[in-house]
């Protein structure tokens, strides 16, 4: 077929895709008879209220000398790994604030870190386009550094996010600036599956975040600079199961809702959104009007264990605690006593939901817990 005819077919196909997407969007709109806040209000749900000391900072983890970019808890809730611009991973005992490991990275440009489900290993990735695994029980080398035990090499762009597949230390999923996500086998160091890419139907820009479904570890969601979130089944690489449109900017962060049927997103457009994975509905938008012209970007999100609270870090240093049912901000951790002095870049809930850890460009991590009183019956 001549190239000119190919180009005509290409243009016609693009037009057809755009037309179908518009029609799909309109059909979906007809099904959006309410959102979560509208439903909750109509059923008499009252807002969560926080007193000034109900959620307090009970630990400040100091030790990094650069911006903190990423953090992750162990499933046993007592340890945290953090990654920083200073080129180190630090493993902390969350209860005592002690540092158990300070790992100097071969490439200082780290963007993400993750704890393995058993807590034996940590993974990190960044601008070196690789994901490096460290076994915390390994002996250090003669310089006192923990050696890299496995290097996962294959991405053609920076590694923006990584997460171990729950309940096994063998598989990890990474997202990358090369527009793909990859499922890796750590024992062989090889790619098991590549999601998206040049000739597969996937993201069309850098992928910035992944979140694996805790209820079904074969399913994960990714967020991208193309403004979409996509749902993937690890058994099907050729195409995303579903694409979620709606955001008007990069989707910086994605996180599954505790029930495993929904997930949240945070974006450069300043909104967080809640989507349903089974039917693709956008169930809620979380957005607070600002008097400034500049809308702060959402950098990171996390849900509380019940899903009632959505924690969202913003580029202006705010950390809103949203009541997910009523879509209202109930607390701003960015303005309470002893809060961070700069942008909160990462958030994470402990496995039992009792503590929130925040990491910031002020080089610190902070652990927040409930500090109020409860009625004892």
């Amino acid at each position: 077929m001549p190239v000119a005819e190919l180009k005509e077919r290409h243009a016609a196909a693009i037009e057809a895709v755009n037309d179908l997407r518009e029609r799909l969007k309109q059909r979906r709109q007809q099904l959006l008879d309410t959102d979560v806040a509208g439903y909750a209000r109509s059923h008499g749900r009252s807002q969560v209220t926080f007193g000034p000391t109900d959620l307090v900072c009970c630990r400040t983890l100091q030790g990094h000398t650069g911006k903190v970019y990423s953090l992750d808890w162990t499933p046993e809730r007592d340890r945290i790994v953090s990654a920083s611009q200073d080129g180190r991973l630090i493993v902390w005992n969350a209860q005592t604030s002690q540092k158990t490991h300070a790992i100097k990275l071969p490439c200082a440009w780290v963007m993400t870190c993750a704890f393995s489900p058993t807590g034996q290993s940590v993974a990190c990735g960044g601008l070196d386009s690789m994901c490096s695994i460290f076994n915390l029980n390994s002996a250090t080398d003669r310089d006192g550094n923990l050696p890299v035990s496995v290097t996962l090499n294959g991405h053609k762009g920076y590694v923006s996010c990584c997460q171990y597949v729950p309940d096994e230390d063998i598989h990890i999923i990474t997202s990358s600036g090369d527009q793909t996500c990859v499922l890796w086998d750590i024992t062989t160091g090889l790619r098991t599956t590549v999601f998206g890419g040049e000739f597969q139907s996937g993201h069309t820009a850098d992928v910035l975040s992944v979140s694996i479904n805790g209820a079904n570890s074969r399913v994960f969601v990714s967020g991208s600079c193309d403004g979409t979130a996509r749902l993937w089944d690890t058994r099907v690489a050729s195409r995303a199961m579903r694409t979620f449109q709606g955001h008007e900017g990069d989707v910086n962060t994605v996180k599954f809702f505790p029930d495993g049927n929904r997930f949240g997103t945070g974006s450069d457009d300043g909104t967080c959104r809640l989507f349903d994975i089974r039917n693709g509905h956008q169930l809620q938008v979380y957005y607070q009007q600002h008097s400034d012209k500049e809308v702060p970007l959402v950098t990171s999100i996390a849900f509380s264990i019940s899903g009632r609270l959505l924690f969202a870090g913003y580029s202006n240093g705010d950390c809103y605690v949203w009541d997910t049912l009523l879509a209202r901000v109930v607390l701003n951790l960015g303005s309470v006593q002893n809060s961070h002095e700069n942008r909160i870049s990462c958030l994470g809930l402990s496995a039992d939901g009792s503590s929130l850890c925040t990491g910031s460009w002020d080089t610190n991590l902070k652990i927040w817990a409930f500090g109020g009183h409860r009625k004892v019956i």
């Binding site: 077929m1 190239v3 190919l6 290409h10 196909a13 895709v17 029609r23 799909l24 059909r27 099904l31 008879d33 309410t34 959102d35 439903y39 909750a40 969560v48 926080f50 007193g51 000034p52 000391t53 109900d54 307090v56 911006k67 970019y69 963007m111 601008l127 762009g157 597969q200 139907s201 850098d206 910035l208 990069d250 809702f257 505790p258 029930d259 049927n261 929904r262 809640l274 039917n279 509905h281 169930l283 509380s304 019940s306 899903g307 009632r308 240093g317 997910t324 049912l325 701003n332 303005s335 309470v336 006593q337 002095e341 700069n342 039992d352 409930f370 109020g372 409860r374 009625k375 004892v376």
Partner: protein
Amino acid sequence: MAAGSGGSLSLPPPCPKSPPEYPDLYGKRRETAKVQMLEREISFLEVELKSVGGLQHASRCCKEVTDFVTTNSDPLIPTNRKNRKSCRLWKWLCGIPCFNLSMICCCCYSECSCHLTCRPCYNCNDMCDCSLCKCSSCNCNSCLSCCTNPRRRCCSCPKSQCCGNISCGKTCCIFRFPSCKDRCYRWKCCPKCPKVRLCCCTKNCCNLCCFLF
């Protein structure tokens, strides 16, 4: 055959030919692959369009979310407040002027837990109210006369969240990233740099590439 006058044909002058055009097979295959991908996407979208009609309304999903959230307990959410009888004494004491007890009074009026103390309020209002000590509404001009601990917004640099420890330029902070190449264009200033901001892009991208970092 010698050229002669009168009746003999003369050959046209030699004219160099352009090299033959080789087919751009790689480009053609690439274009074909893109078209195939789009046509596959069209078929997926058509299937999805047909199935949308059978989907449940959003209200059903909203009910599921509400039911799930309200069924599960949450260690971070306050439940019923304990009847703090001990604070009633403090409240009575705080009924009298308590200039020297401003810290304790702050606790009482804002219903802080009594075993915690509030940060002292300096140069804020005279009212004993912890919430006013946060100075969350500070802007840069008046910040120094507000809380004792200047907030991040009370920075003389207009883009303080960008700058950190690096001196603030007129627009964003400047940070050198060695592997940036080529010209800048929106969002792709330095291909290897994640999320480079337009405000920081200049023609000499290598040297003046601003990270979102």
